[in-house]
């Protein structure tokens, strides 16, 4: 079965600093990959999704970007963090075999101070 690795689990960054969150997956090939953000006590907002290497779709205009340099690697980045970028960031996948079930990683809690 597929496994999603996200790190770090928690991160505290100053305003204006860069960001790089990495997500790697195992146990599946050609997955669809997603980045979601969850504000405290709120639902999940889709930020980016990717159906293949180098293919990124952005769902909302924002201060963040995503890249997929390898089939099983998905990176979330920012050049300059804002206070509003704080939140719980979740990487997720669908196996891409017609199975639409979304599997989530363990998340990264980002605090921008």
């Amino acid at each position: 079965s597929q496994t999603i690795h996200q790190w770090p689990a928690t991160l505290v960054q100053p305003v204006g600093s860069p960001l790089s969150l990495e997500c790697t997956v195992e146990g599946t090939s050609n997955p669809n990959l997603y980045w979601y953000r969850q504000a405290a006590g709120r639902g999940l907002q889709l930020l980016f999704y990717s159906v293949g290497i180098g293919q990124i779709s952005s769902e909302v205009p924002q201060n963040l970007s995503a890249s997929r340099p390898q089939d099983r690697q998905f990176i979330l980045s920012s050049k300059k963090l804002l206070l509003s970028d704080s939140g719980f960031y979740l990487c997720a996948l669908t196996p891409g075999t017609g199975n639409e079930k979304l599997f989530f990683g363990s998340g990264t809690q980002l605090s921008v101070l």
Partner: protein
Amino acid sequence: GESVGLHLPTLSVQEGDNSIINCAYSNSASDYFIWYKQESGKGPQFIIDIRSNMDKRQGQRVTVLLNKTVKHLSLQIAATQPGDSAVYFCAEEADSSYKLIFGSGTRLLVRP
């Protein structure tokens, strides 16, 4: 636009009772729905799913009901246990796009 929302932000039930968590959706073209459970500080976990060609699906202690006429989805948990305490999210898939739209969540509290 598409939206998925929940009627009750917090639900408190007695241990052993049945729980019902409700969800409304607005996109009549959605054909796939999922319930997730999220414990504090963790990623959401899949509970159960249902397609629009069904109106009921059962799992272990959980049942999902879909009423397409009123665009309503519910999750029933039988014999609720303390370990069921979590936030529950419903989600719908928009137009087979592999993009799930999530509701805002309902917190389930189980009283001992």
